[in-house]
Symmetry: C2
Subunit: 237 residues, 2 copies
């Protein structure tokens, strides 16, 4: 059970501010991972840090600013996990995989940042890395950007979807999870032949397999376009 950090009562003004943006970020990241999105409230953060809830507003303009800063922290942690290699395909896989893993570790944050631009330094770095990696495939600028967005948006949106699901109340999540066997496994074969023919497989696919399939499809698409350009730049499929 977490005890709120009580600062020493003898603290004088020489100790500096009781609170800092960095301390709030640390607490927010920890409480979000530990207790989910319901705990990521301004009031709860105050409790966690042993200060009045509204002290928060001296360090962030509003909750959105906090959320974007947290999003950039997640990207920063993602960058630490990436292993750039010679092969651009393997590098793309590493970036997408690292982002997927980190966002799933912090679903409470991922579910609110997956449709946002953080504007932070980590975001700039990962965008630069993705763009320069895709550029190595040899596509013209417009297509490099199109497939950068395809990889980035597919990664962010699929992890956002997984995160939103994980953030559900346990009872709702269990209900949705059971639907594939409960509802879809019991449908009349006359009306739903394809569903019945695939009932077992439907209940068994894993979210990560789906993610891999989509990312692989996009990487293969880049490969195919690059091959077409190598065969002759005027071949627009």
């Amino acid at each position: 059970m977490p005890t709120p950090r009580i600062r020493p009562s003898g603290r004088g003004r020489t100790d500096g501010p009781a609170l800092s943006a960095a301390a709030i970020l640390d607490a927010a990241l920890e409480v979000a991972e530990r207790e989910g999105p319901g705990a990521l409230t301004v009031r709860r953060l105050g409790l966690e840090l042993g200060v009045d809830p509204t002290a928060f507003y001296r360090h962030f303009r509003d909750k959105d600013e906090l959320v974007l800063a947290l999003g950039d922290r997640i990207i920063a942690m993602t960058l630490e996990k990436i292993e750039p290699v010679d092969d651009w395909r393997a590098t793309l896989r590493s970036i997408a995989g690292a982002a997927y893993a980190m966002n799933r570790r912090y679903p409470a944050i991922a579910s609110v940042t997956f449709a946002r631009v953080t504007g932070g330094v980590a975001e700039r770095e990962i965008v630069e890395m993705l763009l320069s990696t895709i550029a190595r495939a040899g596509l013209p600028p417009a297509e490099t950007v199109l497939y950068y967005r395809a990889i980035a948006d597919a990664t962010l949106s699929l992890t956002g979807q997984a995160a939103a699901f994980e953030n559900l109340e346990p009872s709702l999540r269990a209900k949705d999870e059971a639907a594939w066997s409960q509802i879809y496994g019991a449908l009349p074969e006359a009306d739903y032949p394809a569903i019945r023919a695939h009932a077992r497989e439907l209940a068994e696919v894993r979210e990560t397999q789906v993610f891999d399939a989509v990312i692989t499809a996009v990487i293969d698409a880049i490969d195919a376009r690059a091959a077409a350009y190598r065969a002759g730049g005027d071949e627009h499929d």
Copy 2:
């Protein structure tokens, strides 16, 4: 300006219940499209229908039940727009495109249902349609299901992402939108050469192009796998 429907004051008991689940769904769909996610509250629905807010609970167990019913309504409207054709690729495109368009029309609902299983009749029908369409490509059951999920999750998650973005307060949306030209267009070329080399293209890509690129990539992946199986069922790349 919408006037709340005031029922005639002379209404007697022969008129039946003042409220019905269908009337609530109609009002919710309309208010969600017209005014966005901030308006999709139990209190607001009561106002819109001219009844006490809590009358809602006589027709739905909780707000989640309403949200799932709305999600199924969107799927039902999507089904009406789909044109099944001979070519399974074109049919998949039609389904994905119709779902994308309908979810973007109701971002307030899409942003909360994109990670859910509605369990409704429309959902079953669209799952059956997708599965039977992909099965026509000639993949074994496990891969049919894998690519069904790839198409379905890519469609839902990308529209969920777009919906979440559209649901932002106008000021936040404008800030995020401007980031590509404001922040990413002004980064030092020494540190961010790839971003600077693609600045214009980054500001110009459209969300629908990205969606098309991802869906096309997945359909091409199905095609490639099907071709491999036609060439000899034992070829697992």
